[in-house]
Amino acid sequence: MNNTALKDLVYKMADDQLILGHRNSEWIGLGPILEEDIAFASMAQDKVGQSLAFYSLLNQLGEGEPDSIAFFRHAKQFHCCHFVELPIGDYSFSLMRHFLFDTAEAARFELLKASSYEPLKNLAIKFLGESRYHTMHADTWMNALGKGTDESIERMQNALDECMPYALGIYEESEFETQLISDRVFAGELALREIWIERINSLIAKTDLILPDLARCSPAFGGRIGDHTEYLQPLLDEMSEVVNIDPHADW
């Protein structure tokens, strides 16, 4: 078992979840409908909670404590994709990001059910339940807004067009890709992407939205190797503002 390859995989999963969970928590109290505010907040907690579980796994593999690796790394040390760093924008953007990312995450967990690395497999199985709800929620909203008014269809289409290059950035292959596949730790980003394309296609086909031509979208790569958007460092600075008052204090 190649520890470096494994940690690379778990870091990117944990970082994606933490940053997206953090972004989605920005909607708490500000959502379009009370019930939706509540639902979105729960899913944000799920994401942050999942990231904590993965950081704990990293800690067992020799990395630092979850609080210190999450709150004290510099942007260059993060492995999240650009997609999750982007500001929350209009609700159409956040919902579309939720649909595209969570569909991928559910598929990722499903693939990891077959992982040769037991702790990872167990976490994936555990979180599939939460994913079931996340995709249920996302699909329901896609159907509602993707077939709603002219305005909702237009906003969601714009969001889809804007999101797609970033969503494709989820599947940036790691330098350890072949290792992970041959060790049967993970089936790989390309395999994941194929499943994802089929699923989003099938859902979008039921709406009045049109899937952009993926061949003409330039995937937003770089995040997995520490090259991030201008948004990540300010996000991290904000996230760690209080702990940085005194990094050794017990809050």
């Binding site: 920005e26 019930e35 509540i38 639902a39 907040a41 555990k126 599939l128 339940g129 709800y133 904000e238």
Partner: protein
Amino acid sequence: MKESLDPRINRFNLLSLDDLQAKPTLDQLPTYEVFVQPNEDKTFQHEGIVHASDQRMAFVFAKEQFSRRSTCTGLWTVSTSDIYCTPTTENKQSVYEGIPEAEEKEGESYLIFHLLKRGKQHKCVGQVIAASHKQALQVAKHVLDITKPVLNAWVIKESDIFMSLEEDKVIWKTLPEKTFREAIDYRGSDKIEKFKQEQGKHHHE
């Protein structure tokens, strides 16, 4: 508007207070009644309402509004307009007094809910086959084992209810682990004791 202390608000593009528009009445969404089954051994109980566009959206909302704590094994949502209600009785009378009994014949499946006391909530007590809501109550009188006076009853056609499936139960699987939102995770008395002891030492020096 001056800068907010909340960085999220500074990114939120606040409107000026002059851009006031009254909420159009169109904004009002219909309501769906929510029933929760806390565990396999208990029946479904009414918990409250959500506003939603349809039953599926209502389910998605209800799951987080009414089952994000404790445990849950099943969730139902039904449009408020699909609930047939009896009047509420007085003086310990039952809604079943004064209505005829009827045999179970052909028809559709109806679920019966009883309220036994003011202040409590309706619980599902059984299922009957009948040709209408009204008849379903009559069949219930005949078929169900009703021992206490029923203050108020609801009858809902089963096909009007959006029900969670067996395979949906996993969505609640990790609930018990989320102790970060339970009082039990926040015991502070040890820290207070330790602090008091240390302060005690200082005061004696």
